[in-house]
């Protein structure tokens, strides 16, 4: 399993109920279901991913995150998880509000656009950065709302979303000394646990 998913699963207790937004091929849900007896649903729109979830026996609903989460009641889940999709939705602010409405807690991961390498790529080359965590060109990227660790935290503060825990990791999914000290500069992927 991807290391960032491993980090997330460490945060999720035994038997929790989950909603995984943009659940991909269902790896996280399947692993948590098997090892932590969690129950829940994934939301996904890619049909190859849906088929993979079906095969794994993961509950998955075809649903576009841009349409919101209006079909789920308040606090329906213990955790709402969204890995690497915040930057791809039309209104990340609205989906964040929905996540903390539907879940007691929310776990979010996104690529940090404030990372030193991204900054220097743009500063030195004058071009939109392309890397293993941001593997697209400007014209074909699904990432339409990139943000930095600082942006995210400012947004949470303004919208009364409490940050319970933060991890920043590099492309090898390790959390170094520098990243702990200056997360906005040295974190490539940010992982947050938040609640309303």
């Amino acid at each position: 399993m991807r290391d960032d998913l491993q980090l997330i699963s460490d945060w999720i207790p035994q038997g929790a109920t989950l909603l995984d937004l943009g659940c991909g091929d269902g790896t996280l849900l399947a692993w948590l279901g098997e090892h932590k007896q969690t129950r829940g649903y994934g939301l996904e729109i890619n049909q190859d991913n849906l088929a993979a979830c079906f095969e794994k026996g993961v509950n998955v609903l075809e649903q576009d995150l841009d349409g919101g989460l209006g079909n789920f009641q308040d606090l329906r889940f213990d955790y709402v998880v969204m890995t690497q999709a915040l930057q791809a939705v039309l209104r990340p602010d609205q989906i964040l509000n929905e996540m903390v409405r539907v879940g007691r807690e929310a776990i979010i991961t996104f690529p940090n656009f404030g990372h030193w390498w991204v900054r220097s790529y743009l500063a030195l080359r004058g071009r939109m950065p392309v890397s293993s965590t941001l593997p697209y060109e400007w014209y074909n990227t699904p990432n339409i709302h990139l943000c930095t660790v600082q942006d995210f935290e400012t947004h949470c503060r303004k919208n009364n979303i409490r940050i319970l825990e933060r991890q920043v990791i590099n492309r090898h999914h390790r959390s170094g000394f520098l990243a702990k000290l200056w997360p906005n500069l040295f974190g490539e992927i940010a992982i947050y646990r938040v609640k309303a």
Partner: protein, 392 residues
């Protein structure tokens, strides 16, 4: 006639009939003292009878879902695209059962069969059936076949409603319910279309109050009209445009009421074929069963409470251009199941083919439905291996 039976066909199949002498109490308050069900099976029931799948048919359907009844058949069974060796419902792995519902006109007891009390066709005296009644009769057929628990109960449209009712009424008797292009109950518009279809039959001068069998005739025009109306709702605007556009049969206007547009010709032909093969009383009865369907009704009109009964896992599938039972209707079922905390997966197939898409070979649909059934089969086989290992 199939020149040669395709390799992925279940081949030549023969329907079987079972006679039931235990009275069946019906929702309408009446009782069927005895009745017959006609059914077909494909594949082999495993030793522990855990690989059985029930296929529920739609409004004008019957027991012949796959393969050919004879080498003279022009077409295979109605769901041959999905049932066969290596297909979505893989007969190498599953034992598939499909029956003609009670009240039908293809071999099971229905309005056109003989009422043993009078020696005459039942006609309008055949009791009104509901989806719940069908599910009960299907459970009895399962008993006869030695099937305690279905691996899956599967159906499209009215068949999907039966699968849903199964999950509520016999939660311990199915592992999965696959509900395709269905709804938790009919809308006023759905009922309105059914009513137009029924009125066209009821007002046909050859209907004779439903006793047309005794007059050696049948309400042909009424059936044709009923089917034409139904057929329009099974296709989408796009599907009709792609298939017919405004094409003319003779290339020019005749300024009269004969067939001019290709779509008119198509509808008349479909209606004509249908009127020869389907019993009018059965059509009345089955559309009414659809109208009555509302599993939430016995749970204080609360769908969520109704959907808290099942313990099986669900696959719900809808089609974007289906306006008879639009994706929103399927999502009502999904939402109810999610609220009730049930295991459910949902897929919305993007296709212009309309309601009838559930019968067609659409790659995205086949892939997703197939992946789900693959998992169902794996579950059975893994469990069987576990059992064997524990005995070893």
């Amino acid at each position: 006639m199939p020149q040669q039976i395709p390799a992925d066909s279940v081949g030549l199949v023969e329907p079987k009939i079972h006679r039931f002498d235990t009275p069946l109490e019906l929702e309408c308050g009446r009782t069927l003292p005895s009745y017959e069900l006609v059914y077909e099976t494909y594949g082999t029931l495993n030793r522990t009878a855990t690989n059985a799948v029930l296929i529920c048919h739609a409004l004008s359907g019957h027991h012949h879902a796959a393969g050919y009844n004879s080498m003279d058949d022009k077409r295979p069974g109605w769901w041959d695209t999905c049932i066969g060796p290596g297909k979505v419902i893989d007969t190498n792995r599953f034992f598939v059962v499909c029956l003609n519902n009670l009240g039908g006109c293809h071999g099971s007891s229905g309005p056109s069969s003989i009422n043993p009390e009078t020696g005459q066709p039942w006609g309008p005296d055949f009791p009104m059936m509901t989806i719940k009644d069908w599910v009960n009769s299907q459970a009895r057929l399962a008993d006869v076949l030695g099937i305690q628990r279905w691996a899956a109960v599967i159906g499209g449209s009215m068949g999907g409603m039966q699968a849903l009712q199964w999950s509520i009424d016999y939660p311990e008797r199915l592992g999965h319910a696959v509900v395709i292009a269905a709804a938790p109950k009919l809308s006023a518009q759905n009922i309105a279309f059914n009513e137009v279809a029924r009125q066209s039959i009821l007002t046909d001068p050859n209907f004779h109050g439903g006793r047309y069998y005794l007059h050696d005739t049948y309400p042909r025009q009424g059936l044709i009209l009923a089917r034409m109306v139904g057929h329009i709702t099974y296709l989408s605007d796009d599907a009709m445009r792609m298939k017919f556009g405004r094409d003319l049969r003779a290339g020019r206007f005749h300024y009269g009421f004969d067939v001019e547009f290709q779509v008119e010709s198509y509808l008349r032909h479909q209606g004509e074929v249908f009127s020869r093969n389907f019993d009018a009383n059965t059509y009345l009865l089955m559309t009414k069963a659809l109208d009555y369907f509302d599993p939430a009704r016995e749970f204080g009109d609360n769908l969520e409470t109704a959907l808290a009964q099942p313990s099986c896992k669900f696959l719900i599938v809808s089609f974007t251009s289906d306006w008879r039972f639009a994706p929103e209707r399927s999502r009502e079922i999904v939402d109810g199941l999610v609220h009730a905390g049930r295991d459910v997966s949902y897929a919305e197939i993007d296709t212009p083919k309309g309601h009838d898409a559930f019968l067609l070979d659409i790659p995205e649909y086949t892939k997703l439905f197939g992946a789900y059934m693959h998992r169902v089969a794996n579950e059975i086989e893994n469990r069987a291996n576990d059992v064997e290992a524990s005995h070893a």
